[in-house]
Structures are given as structure tokens and as C-alpha cells.
Amino acid sequence: MIAPFRMTRWAAVVSACCLPLPALADALTQETRQQAVNWPAILMFGAFVLCTLMITRWAAGKTRTTADFYTAGGGITGFQNGLAIAGDYMSAASFLGISAQIFADGYDGLIYSTGFLVGWPIILFLLAERLRNLGRYTFADVASFRFAQTPVRLFAALSTLAVVLFYLIAQMVGAGQLIKLLFGLPYSYAVVIVGVLMTLYVLFGGMIATTWVQIIKAVLLLGCATVMAFAVMASFGFSPDALFAKAVEVKTMLAGQAGADSASAAAKGRSIMGPGNFIKDPISAISFGMALMFGTAGLPHIMMRFFTVPDAKAARKSVLWATGWIGYFYLLTFIIGFGAIVMVATEPAFLDPLTGGLRGGSNMAALHLADAIGGNLFLGFVCAVAFATILAVVSGLTLAGASAVSHDLYASVLRKGQASSAEELRISRRTVLVLAAIAIVLGILFEKQNVAFMVSLAFALAASGNFPVLLLSVLWKGCTTRGVVWGGSLGLALALVLTVLSPTVWVTVLGNAEPVFPYSSPTLFSMPLAFFTIWIVSLLDRSGRAAVDRSGYPAQRIRSETGIGAAGASAH
């Protein structure tokens, strides 16, 4: 299945130097051109859908209560949950985007990968077990544990919906572009297909179906990436240095063909082996690093996964598995990116004769590599897996959004905890329909928009709102209701405003000449603001509620540390 290494017609190759740089999450958001209908890909995707719908049917039979719906009754094992978390995290943006980034700039792609990974140890050391011990369905359960329910849950639900919505739009637009590209279907078909399938999974199968879709997809994606990386390494006798040397040679040659003199062509070739222009100034670098690291610890659909396991020990185990799989996956994408430089950038069949870029857009690097390695059938398989990936990620997001509405807004705020399980479940399912409709409509509306900033914005919001609120409410005795609501809201607001004023939105999207806020990520400013506000407002809070909040800490602390009183797995 490993095709002989093709290296033909150098002269026909147009420089990869003129490829546009894919920015973070741009992966999914570029303008793409519709391709010929790809039947093998559609058939294999059809098989995936059939299989997952059967699982959904099985899961529907087991989904009777809110606990089943939100958290699979807490009956997922640590290993399964670890794979599902990895599935949630290995989005099509990481697979196609990071390998495309490496294809274009080499080393810079690795910086993303490290940032995306290092949030996991932090989650494990500070939050995972405590989340499991304190919460049942949503992260708001934890954040509001000893506080006044209404204000804290309102904050948590709105922040969840904001994060979920931005993430969801980016995924839907990405799905549309990708399917247009991979399957040769029109953009709107793709968005509707994703919306409808996701609705079926979540509506009927709840967390059980979502988890299994996530697991299957994670296994398929890891399998595909392993085969590709293995094939690349095999053609270089398993010597990374030989792979890098060839990649530098290819980049140098391409730069030379683009008209660079031999010295600058050689410099261009070598540039892929070290950090390039991705990080321009130290402030943006640190700020972006903080968003990736702490944002991970505040993503609602990720935190929700900790409630699907029976106890804190399993929560801990799931992070270990997830971190291992995610780290392995990033190693593979690194090899795949370099493999694409060597095997794709020099192959005229993969290049667009009009633009000189990759056929179908710069995010196609990994897919063309699949073609080079295993031919059309393997390409079809990888395409189907990429689509499955988007489907699984949007299902998890929708479930997190629906639980924020039904569990936090409806059952806790509106009905003051008096709603029955059946009523809550009904509201949750209706919310799934509403969210799916919103996702489809926004996905179609945003077709031509540049939504690259939305995933970074989701991470920045999570790092500036949810993470400070969670950390201080769990670990600081003096924290009060007023403190978390003010601090969390200000952190969110500043992150949102600074993102709008930053180069990615103010200049790229809104077309202004100069950004008001010069850095690429707001987190260095918005996250400390949230921590500081929570601290100062709590400190000055002399209300009666503050006294109740503080006196609730000792009992909360014992439960968070020991799990005494925590909800276990429901019997099945």
C-alpha cells in the first residue's frame, strides 16, 4: 500500500512559498473550490454513519434519565473516556490545520501542538478529580456548589453558550468547506448533513451515543494518522534526519524556482527547521500560550466529560490516556506535515495549475499525502474519517450547550431545582433541536466569512471566564458569589472586546487599517483581570450571602478532596 516515492517533473512545480499561511484554525475556514464527486469517500462515510446510527439506536434504549442523557449515567470507564476526550480534542482543525501549517512553515506547527497538549497536565493536577467529586452534569454544578445558584448558574450557562457557539460556528463552516472539498458536495448540503446527523446522535443517544461516536472516530483517526506517518518514515529508512534533510532540500529548490537567489533560497529551506514568523512578539507569544493552556481547562464540553466516569480515580485515569493519545497524535501530525512537504509539494498532480497552491486549498496537505501513500481508496477513507471527526466534535459541543440550557437555566434558575428528570430531559432535547437549527443557519450565513478567529476566541473566553471561576471557587475559601460573577463576567467581556479590536478581527474581518489592540490573543490581560476581580470583589464583599459562601467552604473542600457524598454511577 505504500506507493513508491514520486519525485517527477521538478520544473512543473510552482513554489510552495507563495502558499498562504494557514493561521490557527484557519484549517477549516478557507475558501475552497468544489471538487469532483468522490464516491469511495462518500461510501465509506456512509458506512460510518450507518454504524454510528446503529449505536445511537442501542444508546437510545439506555437513555432514560437526565443522568443517562448528560453523562451516560457515569458508566464510562477511564480508558474509554480518555479516548473520547482525545476524540473531542483531535478536531479536523488539528489534523488538517496543523499538518498544513507544518507543510507551509515547518517547525511553527509544533508550537501549536505543544500549546494544545500542556493544558492537560494542568487539568489533571488541579481540577479533574475535584470536578468529578463536586459536579454531576455541568461545570456550573462545581462553580456554583456553595454559592447562590441563580447568579452563578446564569453566568456559567451564558459563558458555556458563548464558548460552544463560537466553537460550533467554526466547526460548521469548516464542515461545509471540507465536504465541498472532499466529497464534491455543495456547501449547504454538507452543513445540513452535519446538523441533522449530529441532532440524531444527541437527541436520541445523548451522552452514550456521543461518547461512542467520539471513541470510534478517535480510533479511526489515530489509525489513519499512524499508517500515514509509518509510510512516510518507512520511505526514509526510519531516519527523521533523512526526512528533514529532504524537506529542506525541497523547500530550497522551490524557493529557487520562485526566483530567489541561492543564498536566500537556502535560508528559506533551512527556515522550516526552526521557529519562524508564527510568534512575532513576546506579549502575543505568552498570551497565546496562556489561552491554549488554560483555555483547555475551561472548555465546557471537555469538563463535562469528567462527569461520565464513575469516580475521581477514573477521571484521573482518563486524563492520562487522553494526554498520551493526544501527544502521540501530535507526533504523527508532525511527521505527516514533513512527509507532505516531500511527497506532495513536488507532485504536479496535487497542485493547482492556476494558483500554484495545493489543489483544493492549503489545508489539503494531509489528504494529498494520503493519496500519495495509499491511492484513491485510502484517500476516501481519510476523507470519511475527517468528516466523522467534525461530526463527533459538534455532537459533544451541542450536548454541552443543551445541558447548560436545560440543567442550569431551566432546572436550576427557572424552576429552582423543582423540575422533574422527565421535564428536564424534555427541555434538553428541545434545546438540541434549537441549537442544531442555529448551527445550520449560522453555518450557512458564515460561509463566506473568515471565522478563523472563532476557535482562538473560544479558548480565550474559556481561559478568561470559566477557568478563574472554577479554580478559585474550588480552592479559595474567601471566594464569594459576587466575586465569581463579577470576575468571570469581566474576564469574558474583556476577552471578547480585545479580540474584536485585535488584528484578526479589526483588520482582517472588519477591514480597518490598524488594530486598536496590537496582540494576537487577549488572554494575558483578560485572565489576570478575572482573577484580580474575583479576589478584590470577594475580599470587599460584606453581604449576608458572602458569609454563607465562606462558611460553605469546609464541607465543599472535604467533598472535593475525598469524594464523600459525590454522585456515583447510576445502575444499569
Binding site: 497538549l117 493536577f125 527547521m273 521557529p275 510568534i279 513576546p282 505568552i286 480515580k313 508532525f334
Partner: protein
């Protein structure tokens, strides 16, 4: 609102158990230390990229491979290794202690 709310007695007994306080102190010292290591490693890497790109772009000996490659992959491996260290100590040392404390408190 939580159906599994424990009797206040168990919480009270845990609060008075010196083993509980020792466990929590030891465990949080351990997790904050690991958190500190992870922060230093990751932000050290980011600062190296921000201020000394040339260091990471230096080839290792006569190879094409630069120092940036093992350093970048090293950050990922450190993350996985720290996670493993935490889980193994938690399983080996903290869990049995916690079991004993819970057993005495919940009887």
C-alpha cells in the same frame, strides 16, 4: 438538591481526622509542584521562541535536525510524563490513604 448528600457526621469525622489534613497537604504540595514544573517548561519554551529563535534553529552537530525538534517534542513528552507521575503516585500512595479515611468516616 443533591440526592447523595452525605450525613454531616461523615464530613465532621473527616474534618477531625489528622490523616485527612496530612493527605491534603501532601497531595496539594505535590500537584502544585508538578503544575509549577509544567508552567516553567512550557513558558520557558515559549519565551525561547519569543526571544532566542536562533538557539532553537541551531542544527545538532552535523545533522539537519535542529535543537528545536527535541526541545519541542520534549515539552510534549514532559507533559505526558508528569501526568504519568501524578497518576502513579495517586494510585500507589494517595488512594489507599483516602480509602482508609473514608472507611472510618462512613461507617
Amino acid at each position: 438538591m443533591d440526592p447523595a448528600e452525605p450525613a454531616g457526621g461523615a464530613l465532621q469525622r473527616v474534618a477531625e481526622d489528622p490523616r485527612y489534613h496530612a493527605l491534603v497537604a501532601r497531595r496539594s504540595r505535590f500537584s502544585w509542584t508538578l503544575t509549577g514544573v509544567m508552567l516553567v517548561v512550557f513558558f520557558g519554551y515559549i519565551l525561547a521562541i519569543a526571544f532566542r529563535k536562533d538557539l532553537l534553529a541551531t542544527p545538532i552537530g552535523n545533522h539537519v535536525t535542529t535543537w528545536g525538534i527535541p526541545v519541542g517534542l520534549g515539552v510534549i513528552l514532559v507533559g505526558i510524563a508528569l501526568t504519568g507521575i501524578y497518576v502513579s503516585r495517586a494510585n500507589r500512595e494517595f488512594d489507599p490513604l483516602l480509602q482508609a479515611i473514608r472507611k472510618d468516616a462512613e461507617q
